[in-house]
Amino acid sequence: MTEGFAAPRLRKARAQGFQVAFAVSLSGVSFGALSVALGFTLWQTMVLSLVMFSGASQFAFIGVVATGGLAAIPAAIATSGLLGARNSLYALTMSPIIGRGFFRRALAAHFTVDETTAVSTAQEGRLASQHGFWATAFWLYLGWNLSTLVGALAGDALGDVQTWGLDAVAAAAFLALLWPRLTSLEPVVVAVAAAAVTAVLIPAVPAGIPVLCAAAVGIATGFYRHNVAPHAPEPGEAGVR
């Protein structure tokens, strides 16, 4: 197929990338504001968005440190790592689409998150998938970091976490990230079990440990269910970061 025939499909892929990136970038404002309000500096907040660049992992890191303090930092690292583990699955999917070249692959790796993978795999044909991936990556990286900066500057002005209900905003953020994944009974049961385990353990063990025990519930259920019903539908892709 010549470029002339493919052009509309490629344009559509790039446009879709922009739209998804724009919508998702807006939640960077809430990340920036929350992070600064929870006591992280502007630069710490920006490094999380620039270098970690994975929404759920970033929210988890600041959330666990905020509830557990300095002692919870190892647990915060583990939690954001566990939440970032799905990016390596996306990378497996993207690897043949991205193609060869060390620098191209290294650059692609940094942008391999929910949104870029979702837009890319939704396209028809490898070329359109590539256009979708890079367009989403470009606009999302730009938008997510700019909106983090805006949020962080605004968060500085907001002051106390409790006055503006920012502690409730953190809880709502995790619920909004969880919601699109509750697509069948299996993830709902795991979510309820993980919530119960967390509630029981919070008074009993050091901060940061309950969330890791909840992760163990997810891992154990995954093993068990794979042996019982290997072909049941897996939880859906997230619509938001």
Binding site: V64, M94, F174
Partner: protein, 104 residues
């Protein structure tokens, strides 16, 4: 400095995980099991973080203005409200209840 070390370590870990999928040969990972576990672990972690953020106060569980705020957030998510609106509403509910002295 400890916070900085934590941020750098966590960022490098997430970065390394993204890269691992480009380095590991595809045939070495059993797709169905791994993606099942990754999906359910993400669900479990997020559910746990909701509970911790909504109920935890130091080492105990409390019911305060965060709980109705999360309830409103859940209702909005049910009606497919956008992410930012959900967060804004949660903040307004908790902040408002505290401002009027209805809840702590």
């Amino acid at each position: 400095m400890t916070v900085w070390l934590g941020i750098i370590a966590a960022s490098l870990l997430v970065w390394a995980l993204k890269n691992s999928g480009y380095v590991i040969p595809q045939r070495l990972v059993e797709g169905a099991l791994i993606s099942r576990i990754a999906g359910l672990t993400t669900v479990a972690l997020l559910a746990s973080l909701v509970v911790a953020q909504a109920l935890q106060e130091n080492a105990s569980l409390v019911l305060d203005a965060r709980v109705p705020a999360v309830g409103v957030a859940a209702a909005l998510l049910y009606f497919k409200a956008p992410f930012l609106l959900v967060l804004l509403a949660a903040g307004l509910v908790a902040g408002g209840l505290r401002f009027f002295g209805l809840m702590v």
